[in-house]
Subunit: 197 residues, 2 copies
DNA sequence: CGGCAATGCAAGTAACCACTTACATACTCA
DNA sequence: TGAGTATGTAAGTGGTTACTTGCATTGCCG
Protein backbone atom coordinates (compact mmCIF):
# COMPACT_ATOMS: atom_id res chain seq x y z
CA UNK A 1 0.00 0.00 0.00
CA UNK A 2 1.10 3.54 -0.71
CA UNK A 3 2.84 5.34 2.14
CA UNK A 4 0.44 8.26 1.74
CA UNK A 5 -2.57 6.01 2.25
CA UNK A 6 -0.92 4.11 5.09
CA UNK A 7 -0.41 7.40 6.92
CA UNK A 8 -4.02 8.42 6.32
CA UNK A 9 -5.29 5.10 7.67
CA UNK A 10 -2.96 5.19 10.66
CA UNK A 11 -3.97 8.77 11.47
CA UNK A 12 -7.67 7.88 11.47
CA UNK A 13 -7.08 4.79 13.59
CA UNK A 14 -4.88 6.50 16.17
CA UNK A 15 -7.28 9.44 16.29
CA UNK A 16 -10.15 7.04 16.98
CA UNK A 17 -8.13 5.54 19.83
CA UNK A 18 -6.70 8.66 21.43
CA UNK A 19 -8.35 11.80 20.03
CA UNK A 20 -6.63 14.80 18.48
CA UNK A 21 -4.23 15.57 21.30
CA UNK A 22 -3.46 11.89 21.86
CA UNK A 23 -2.82 11.24 18.18
CA UNK A 24 0.82 12.30 18.26
CA UNK A 25 2.75 12.42 15.03
CA UNK A 26 5.21 9.93 16.50
CA UNK A 27 2.46 7.42 17.23
CA UNK A 28 0.83 7.85 13.83
CA UNK A 29 4.16 7.39 12.03
CA UNK A 30 4.96 4.30 14.09
CA UNK A 31 1.50 2.87 13.42
CA UNK A 32 2.05 3.38 9.69
CA UNK A 33 5.51 1.81 9.89
CA UNK A 34 7.06 5.06 8.63
CA UNK A 35 9.50 7.52 10.10
CA UNK A 36 8.10 10.68 11.65
CA UNK A 37 10.05 12.78 9.15
CA UNK A 38 8.23 11.25 6.21
CA UNK A 39 4.94 12.26 7.79
CA UNK A 40 5.94 15.91 7.84
CA UNK A 41 7.43 15.77 4.36
CA UNK A 42 4.20 14.29 2.99
CA UNK A 43 1.64 16.43 4.78
CA UNK A 44 3.48 19.47 6.09
CA UNK A 45 1.73 19.56 9.45
CA UNK A 46 -0.28 17.40 11.82
CA UNK A 47 -3.39 19.48 11.19
CA UNK A 48 -3.26 18.96 7.41
CA UNK A 49 -2.80 15.22 7.88
CA UNK A 50 -5.69 14.89 10.35
CA UNK A 51 -8.08 16.88 8.20
CA UNK A 52 -7.37 14.76 5.15
CA UNK A 53 -7.51 11.52 7.15
CA UNK A 54 -10.82 12.32 8.87
CA UNK A 55 -12.43 13.49 5.66
CA UNK A 56 -11.56 10.16 4.06
CA UNK A 57 -12.56 8.10 7.11
CA UNK A 58 -16.00 9.65 7.51
CA UNK A 59 -16.92 9.31 3.85
CA UNK A 60 -19.36 6.46 4.53
CA UNK A 61 -22.20 5.95 2.10
CA UNK A 62 -25.66 6.12 3.66
CA UNK A 63 -27.81 3.13 2.73
CA UNK A 64 -30.79 4.08 0.62
CA UNK A 65 -34.38 3.07 1.25
CA UNK A 66 -36.49 1.88 -1.70
CA UNK A 67 -38.39 4.55 -3.59
CA UNK A 68 -41.47 2.37 -3.55
CA UNK A 69 -42.17 0.72 -0.17
CA UNK A 70 -43.14 -2.92 -0.53
CA UNK A 71 -42.38 -4.64 2.77
CA UNK A 72 -41.87 -1.91 5.40
CA UNK A 73 -40.89 -4.26 8.22
CA UNK A 74 -38.20 -5.99 6.20
CA UNK A 75 -36.96 -2.86 4.43
CA UNK A 76 -36.73 -0.83 7.62
CA UNK A 77 -35.14 -3.66 9.59
CA UNK A 78 -32.43 -4.11 6.98
CA UNK A 79 -31.87 -0.36 6.75
CA UNK A 80 -31.69 0.01 10.52
CA UNK A 81 -29.28 -2.89 10.73
CA UNK A 82 -27.00 -1.28 8.16
CA UNK A 83 -27.24 2.07 9.86
CA UNK A 84 -26.34 0.55 13.22
CA UNK A 85 -23.40 -1.39 11.85
CA UNK A 86 -21.98 1.71 10.15
CA UNK A 87 -22.23 3.77 13.31
CA UNK A 88 -20.99 0.97 15.55
CA UNK A 89 -17.93 0.38 13.39
CA UNK A 90 -16.78 3.99 13.60
CA UNK A 91 -18.15 4.63 17.10
CA UNK A 92 -14.75 5.40 18.62
CA UNK A 93 -13.94 7.93 15.92
CA UNK A 94 -17.42 9.45 16.15
CA UNK A 95 -17.15 9.86 19.91
CA UNK A 96 -13.86 11.70 19.49
CA UNK A 97 -15.25 13.98 16.80
CA UNK A 98 -18.30 14.75 18.93
CA UNK A 99 -16.19 15.61 21.95
CA UNK A 100 -13.85 17.84 19.99
CA UNK A 101 -16.29 19.81 17.88
CA UNK A 102 -16.11 22.82 20.17
CA UNK A 103 -12.31 22.88 20.10
CA UNK A 104 -11.80 21.93 16.43
CA UNK A 105 -14.89 23.10 14.52
CA UNK A 106 -13.14 22.41 11.22
CA UNK A 107 -13.24 18.67 11.97
CA UNK A 108 -16.99 18.36 11.80
CA UNK A 109 -17.07 20.16 8.48
CA UNK A 110 -15.14 17.34 6.88
CA UNK A 111 -17.13 14.75 8.86
CA UNK A 112 -20.33 16.24 7.44
CA UNK A 113 -19.17 15.56 3.88
CA UNK A 114 -22.07 13.15 3.31
CA UNK A 115 -24.48 14.54 0.71
CA UNK A 116 -27.66 13.63 2.61
CA UNK A 117 -28.32 12.81 6.23
CA UNK A 118 -29.91 9.44 7.08
CA UNK A 119 -32.79 11.24 8.78
CA UNK A 120 -33.84 12.77 5.46
CA UNK A 121 -33.76 9.36 3.78
CA UNK A 122 -36.06 7.88 6.39
CA UNK A 123 -38.24 10.99 6.40
CA UNK A 124 -38.79 10.61 2.66
CA UNK A 125 -39.68 6.93 3.16
CA UNK A 126 -42.30 7.83 5.76
CA UNK A 127 -43.83 10.35 3.37
CA UNK A 128 -44.17 7.64 0.74
CA UNK A 129 -45.88 5.36 3.26
CA UNK A 130 -48.30 8.17 4.03
CA UNK A 131 -48.96 8.85 0.34
CA UNK A 132 -49.90 5.20 -0.13
CA UNK A 133 -52.22 5.30 2.85
CA UNK A 134 -50.06 2.80 4.70
CA UNK A 135 -49.38 5.28 7.46
CA UNK A 136 -51.54 7.92 9.11
CA UNK A 137 -50.71 11.50 8.27
CA UNK A 138 -51.04 12.93 11.79
CA UNK A 139 -47.39 12.28 12.60
CA UNK A 140 -44.56 14.55 11.53
CA UNK A 141 -42.38 12.43 9.18
CA UNK A 142 -39.21 14.21 10.23
CA UNK A 143 -39.89 13.68 13.94
CA UNK A 144 -40.66 10.02 13.39
CA UNK A 145 -37.46 9.59 11.40
CA UNK A 146 -35.44 11.42 14.03
CA UNK A 147 -36.80 9.17 16.77
CA UNK A 148 -35.80 5.91 15.07
CA UNK A 149 -32.44 7.24 13.87
CA UNK A 150 -31.78 8.67 17.33
CA UNK A 151 -32.56 5.39 19.05
CA UNK A 152 -30.22 3.53 16.69
CA UNK A 153 -27.54 6.17 17.24
CA UNK A 154 -27.80 5.77 21.00
CA UNK A 155 -27.46 1.99 20.74
CA UNK A 156 -24.30 2.37 18.65
CA UNK A 157 -22.74 4.95 20.96
CA UNK A 158 -23.69 3.75 24.43
CA UNK A 159 -24.19 -0.01 24.05
CA UNK A 160 -20.59 -0.98 24.80
CA UNK A 161 -20.23 1.63 27.54
CA UNK A 162 -23.11 0.62 29.82
CA UNK A 163 -23.65 -3.08 29.06
CA UNK A 164 -25.71 -3.60 32.23
CA UNK A 165 -28.46 -1.38 30.81
CA UNK A 166 -28.42 -2.69 27.25
CA UNK A 167 -28.88 -6.32 28.25
CA UNK A 168 -30.85 -7.40 25.18
CA UNK A 169 -29.36 -8.44 21.84
CA UNK A 170 -28.98 -5.78 19.19
CA UNK A 171 -31.01 -7.69 16.58
CA UNK A 172 -33.87 -8.01 19.04
CA UNK A 173 -33.62 -4.29 19.73
CA UNK A 174 -33.60 -3.21 16.08
CA UNK A 175 -36.55 -5.46 15.31
CA UNK A 176 -38.46 -4.03 18.26
CA UNK A 177 -37.57 -0.45 17.30
CA UNK A 178 -38.82 -0.92 13.74
CA UNK A 179 -42.10 -2.47 14.86
CA UNK A 180 -42.72 0.25 17.43
CA UNK A 181 -41.74 2.87 14.85
CA UNK A 182 -44.31 1.52 12.39
CA UNK A 183 -47.03 1.44 15.02
CA UNK A 184 -46.10 4.97 16.02
CA UNK A 185 -46.71 6.26 12.49
CA UNK A 186 -49.89 4.23 12.18
CA UNK A 187 -48.51 1.63 9.82
CA UNK A 188 -49.88 -1.67 11.10
CA UNK A 189 -48.91 -4.94 9.42
CA UNK A 190 -52.58 -5.54 8.61
CA UNK A 191 -53.09 -2.39 6.60
CA UNK A 192 -50.06 -3.13 4.44
CA UNK A 193 -51.00 -6.75 3.74
CA UNK A 194 -54.54 -5.67 2.92
CA UNK A 195 -53.05 -3.39 0.30
CA UNK A 196 -55.16 -0.34 1.02
CA UNK A 197 -55.17 2.17 -1.86
CA UNK B 1 -16.63 29.61 48.31
CA UNK B 2 -14.12 27.13 49.62
CA UNK B 3 -10.93 26.75 47.61
CA UNK B 4 -11.43 23.00 47.56
CA UNK B 5 -14.86 23.37 45.97
CA UNK B 6 -13.66 26.08 43.60
CA UNK B 7 -10.99 23.71 42.31
CA UNK B 8 -13.53 20.90 41.89
CA UNK B 9 -15.85 23.16 39.93
CA UNK B 10 -13.06 24.56 37.79
CA UNK B 11 -11.74 21.07 37.06
CA UNK B 12 -15.17 19.87 35.88
CA UNK B 13 -15.69 22.97 33.75
CA UNK B 14 -12.27 22.90 32.11
CA UNK B 15 -12.60 19.15 31.55
CA UNK B 16 -15.95 19.72 29.83
CA UNK B 17 -14.28 22.31 27.59
CA UNK B 18 -11.03 20.56 26.76
CA UNK B 19 -11.10 16.91 27.89
CA UNK B 20 -8.61 15.15 30.13
CA UNK B 21 -5.47 16.00 28.23
CA UNK B 22 -6.63 19.56 27.59
CA UNK B 23 -7.53 20.13 31.23
CA UNK B 24 -4.05 21.17 32.32
CA UNK B 25 -3.38 21.82 35.96
CA UNK B 26 -2.30 25.34 35.08
CA UNK B 27 -5.60 26.08 33.34
CA UNK B 28 -7.67 24.56 36.14
CA UNK B 29 -5.81 26.53 38.81
CA UNK B 30 -6.17 29.76 36.81
CA UNK B 31 -9.90 29.10 36.30
CA UNK B 32 -10.29 28.64 40.05
CA UNK B 33 -8.28 31.78 40.77
CA UNK B 34 -5.75 29.75 42.71
CA UNK B 35 -2.06 29.07 42.29
CA UNK B 36 -1.08 25.80 40.69
CA UNK B 37 0.81 24.77 43.80
CA UNK B 38 -2.32 24.90 45.91
CA UNK B 39 -3.94 22.47 43.51
CA UNK B 40 -1.22 19.90 44.08
CA UNK B 41 -1.15 20.49 47.83
CA UNK B 42 -4.91 19.94 48.02
CA UNK B 43 -5.29 16.93 45.75
CA UNK B 44 -1.81 15.45 45.34
CA UNK B 45 -2.16 14.76 41.63
CA UNK B 46 -4.18 15.73 38.58
CA UNK B 47 -5.76 12.29 38.43
CA UNK B 48 -7.05 12.46 42.01
CA UNK B 49 -8.52 15.92 41.37
CA UNK B 50 -10.25 14.88 38.14
CA UNK B 51 -11.75 11.76 39.68
CA UNK B 52 -13.23 13.67 42.58
CA UNK B 53 -14.43 16.51 40.34
CA UNK B 54 -16.14 14.23 37.81
CA UNK B 55 -17.77 12.13 40.50
CA UNK B 56 -19.29 15.27 41.97
CA UNK B 57 -20.27 16.74 38.58
CA UNK B 58 -22.08 13.64 37.33
CA UNK B 59 -24.10 13.14 40.51
CA UNK B 60 -27.36 14.30 38.89
CA UNK B 61 -30.60 12.98 40.29
CA UNK B 62 -32.84 11.17 37.82
CA UNK B 63 -36.38 12.48 37.79
CA UNK B 64 -38.89 9.90 38.97
CA UNK B 65 -42.10 8.93 37.19
CA UNK B 66 -45.28 8.57 39.25
CA UNK B 67 -45.97 5.14 40.71
CA UNK B 68 -49.57 5.37 39.54
CA UNK B 69 -49.97 6.69 35.98
CA UNK B 70 -52.76 9.24 35.70
CA UNK B 71 -52.08 11.36 32.65
CA UNK B 72 -49.43 9.54 30.53
CA UNK B 73 -49.02 12.31 27.96
CA UNK B 74 -48.42 14.98 30.54
CA UNK B 75 -46.32 12.85 32.87
CA UNK B 76 -44.10 11.53 30.09
CA UNK B 77 -43.71 14.94 28.47
CA UNK B 78 -42.59 16.51 31.72
CA UNK B 79 -40.24 13.62 32.44
CA UNK B 80 -38.77 13.74 28.93
CA UNK B 81 -38.32 17.47 29.21
CA UNK B 82 -36.43 17.09 32.48
CA UNK B 83 -34.36 14.26 31.08
CA UNK B 84 -33.43 16.32 28.02
CA UNK B 85 -32.52 19.38 30.05
CA UNK B 86 -30.28 17.38 32.36
CA UNK B 87 -28.44 15.76 29.46
CA UNK B 88 -28.24 19.00 27.46
CA UNK B 89 -26.78 20.92 30.37
CA UNK B 90 -23.89 18.50 30.82
CA UNK B 91 -23.59 17.55 27.15
CA UNK B 92 -20.03 18.82 26.79
CA UNK B 93 -18.85 16.88 29.81
CA UNK B 94 -20.76 13.78 28.70
CA UNK B 95 -19.20 13.89 25.24
CA UNK B 96 -15.73 14.03 26.77
CA UNK B 97 -16.45 11.15 29.12
CA UNK B 98 -17.83 9.07 26.27
CA UNK B 99 -14.80 9.72 24.08
CA UNK B 100 -12.33 8.91 26.84
CA UNK B 101 -13.88 5.78 28.29
CA UNK B 102 -11.48 3.52 26.45
CA UNK B 103 -8.44 5.46 27.62
CA UNK B 104 -9.62 6.22 31.17
CA UNK B 105 -12.05 3.45 32.19
CA UNK B 106 -11.99 4.67 35.77
CA UNK B 107 -13.80 7.83 34.72
CA UNK B 108 -17.03 6.12 33.75
CA UNK B 109 -17.14 4.27 37.04
CA UNK B 110 -17.56 7.56 38.87
CA UNK B 111 -19.91 8.84 36.17
CA UNK B 112 -22.11 5.78 36.71
CA UNK B 113 -22.61 6.66 40.34
CA UNK B 114 -26.37 7.10 39.80
CA UNK B 115 -28.36 4.46 41.71
CA UNK B 116 -30.80 3.66 38.87
CA UNK B 117 -30.64 4.32 35.16
CA UNK B 118 -33.44 6.40 33.56
CA UNK B 119 -34.27 3.49 31.26
CA UNK B 120 -35.30 1.36 34.22
CA UNK B 121 -37.54 4.16 35.55
CA UNK B 122 -39.36 4.42 32.24
CA UNK B 123 -39.47 0.63 31.85
CA UNK B 124 -41.24 0.34 35.19
CA UNK B 125 -43.73 3.03 34.14
CA UNK B 126 -44.55 1.11 30.95
CA UNK B 127 -45.17 -2.04 32.99
CA UNK B 128 -47.66 -0.14 35.13
CA UNK B 129 -49.45 1.12 32.03
CA UNK B 130 -49.68 -2.47 30.83
CA UNK B 131 -50.95 -3.71 34.18
CA UNK B 132 -53.76 -1.15 34.02
CA UNK B 133 -54.66 -2.20 30.51
CA UNK B 134 -53.68 1.22 29.16
CA UNK B 135 -51.00 -0.30 26.97
CA UNK B 136 -50.84 -3.50 24.98
CA UNK B 137 -48.54 -6.18 26.35
CA UNK B 138 -47.00 -7.26 23.03
CA UNK B 139 -44.18 -4.71 23.31
CA UNK B 140 -41.07 -5.25 25.41
CA UNK B 141 -41.17 -2.52 28.10
CA UNK B 142 -37.39 -2.27 28.22
CA UNK B 143 -37.08 -1.84 24.45
CA UNK B 144 -39.80 0.80 24.40
CA UNK B 145 -38.09 2.67 27.22
CA UNK B 146 -34.72 2.41 25.50
CA UNK B 147 -36.15 3.85 22.28
CA UNK B 148 -37.58 6.98 23.91
CA UNK B 149 -34.57 7.51 26.18
CA UNK B 150 -32.25 6.95 23.22
CA UNK B 151 -34.08 9.46 21.06
CA UNK B 152 -33.90 12.07 23.84
CA UNK B 153 -30.22 11.30 24.36
CA UNK B 154 -29.52 11.83 20.67
CA UNK B 155 -31.31 15.16 20.69
CA UNK B 156 -29.23 16.34 23.65
CA UNK B 157 -25.93 15.19 22.14
CA UNK B 158 -26.30 16.01 18.46
CA UNK B 159 -28.77 18.90 18.34
CA UNK B 160 -26.21 21.68 18.62
CA UNK B 161 -23.73 19.90 16.35
CA UNK B 162 -25.89 19.46 13.24
CA UNK B 163 -28.49 22.23 13.48
CA UNK B 164 -29.44 21.86 9.82
CA UNK B 165 -30.88 18.40 10.54
CA UNK B 166 -32.60 19.22 13.80
CA UNK B 167 -34.57 22.13 12.40
CA UNK B 168 -37.63 21.72 14.64
CA UNK B 169 -37.99 23.10 18.16
CA UNK B 170 -37.07 20.82 21.02
CA UNK B 171 -40.48 21.13 22.72
CA UNK B 172 -42.18 20.11 19.51
CA UNK B 173 -39.81 17.15 19.24
CA UNK B 174 -40.34 15.95 22.82
CA UNK B 175 -44.10 16.23 22.46
CA UNK B 176 -43.97 14.24 19.22
CA UNK B 177 -41.66 11.61 20.70
CA UNK B 178 -43.99 11.04 23.65
CA UNK B 179 -47.06 10.72 21.47
CA UNK B 180 -45.35 8.33 19.09
CA UNK B 181 -43.99 6.40 22.06
CA UNK B 182 -47.48 5.99 23.50
CA UNK B 183 -48.88 4.84 20.18
CA UNK B 184 -45.99 2.44 19.81
CA UNK B 185 -46.86 0.72 23.10
CA UNK B 186 -50.54 0.74 22.25
CA UNK B 187 -51.55 3.46 24.68
CA UNK B 188 -53.96 5.64 22.75
CA UNK B 189 -55.41 8.77 24.31
CA UNK B 190 -58.90 7.33 23.95
CA UNK B 191 -58.27 4.21 25.98
CA UNK B 192 -56.92 6.22 28.89
CA UNK B 193 -59.75 8.75 28.94
CA UNK B 194 -62.26 5.92 28.70
CA UNK B 195 -60.69 4.46 31.83
CA UNK B 196 -60.54 0.87 30.74
CA UNK B 197 -60.14 -1.53 33.65
C1' DC C 1 26.74 3.71 -14.68
C1' DG C 2 24.86 8.38 -12.92
C1' DG C 3 21.51 11.32 -11.31
C1' DC C 4 17.47 12.04 -8.62
C1' DA C 5 13.66 11.61 -5.71
C1' DA C 6 11.88 9.27 -1.64
C1' DT C 7 12.94 7.70 2.68
C1' DG C 8 15.51 6.92 7.01
C1' DC C 9 18.60 8.07 11.13
C1' DA C 10 20.55 11.12 14.61
C1' DA C 11 20.15 15.08 16.81
C1' DG C 12 18.23 19.25 18.20
C1' DT C 13 14.74 23.28 18.96
C1' DA C 14 11.30 25.80 21.54
C1' DA C 15 7.20 25.08 23.81
C1' DC C 16 4.36 22.77 27.00
C1' DC C 17 3.26 19.16 30.40
C1' DA C 18 2.76 17.30 35.55
C1' DC C 19 5.00 18.00 39.49
C1' DT C 20 8.68 19.66 43.08
C1' DT C 21 11.73 22.53 46.11
C1' DA C 22 12.72 26.64 48.77
C1' DC C 23 11.15 30.46 50.86
C1' DA C 24 7.99 34.46 51.90
C1' DT C 25 3.38 35.98 53.42
C1' DA C 26 -1.09 35.99 55.61
C1' DC C 27 -4.51 34.32 58.79
C1' DT C 28 -6.30 31.80 62.79
C1' DC C 29 -6.57 30.43 67.30
C1' DA C 30 -4.60 29.32 71.80
C1' DT D 1 1.99 37.29 71.25
C1' DG D 2 3.40 33.17 69.01
C1' DA D 3 2.96 28.78 66.77
C1' DG D 4 0.79 26.43 63.17
C1' DT D 5 -1.65 26.19 58.92
C1' DA D 6 -2.90 27.65 54.30
C1' DT D 7 -1.54 30.09 50.47
C1' DG D 8 1.53 32.68 47.47
C1' DT D 9 5.92 33.57 44.28
C1' DA D 10 10.02 32.05 41.88
C1' DA D 11 12.47 28.76 39.92
C1' DG D 12 13.39 24.41 38.16
C1' DT D 13 12.83 19.12 37.33
C1' DG D 14 12.45 15.55 33.72
C1' DG D 15 9.43 14.22 30.14
C1' DT D 16 6.73 14.96 25.83
C1' DT D 17 5.12 17.65 21.99
C1' DA D 18 5.27 19.45 16.97
C1' DC D 19 8.54 20.33 13.89
C1' DT D 20 13.46 21.12 11.80
C1' DT D 21 18.30 20.43 10.08
C1' DG D 22 22.05 17.68 8.12
C1' DC D 23 23.48 13.70 6.14
C1' DA D 24 23.33 8.77 4.75
C1' DT D 25 20.73 5.17 2.30
C1' DT D 26 17.74 3.14 -0.99
C1' DG D 27 15.69 2.29 -5.36
C1' DC D 28 14.24 3.65 -9.85
C1' DC D 29 14.98 5.40 -14.53
C1' DG D 30 17.69 6.94 -18.49
Amino acid sequence: MDIHERLLGAAAQVYAEAGYRGATTRRIAHEAGVSEITLFRQFGSKEALMLEALTAASRTAVLALPDVPVDPVRELTEWSRGRFETLFRIRSLLRKVMSEVEEHPEIIDCAKSYPRHPVSFLEQYVRRLQERGWATVDTHPKLAAAMLVGAIFSEAMVRDMIPEVYSYEIDEALDGYVRMFLRAIGCEAGSVEAGEP
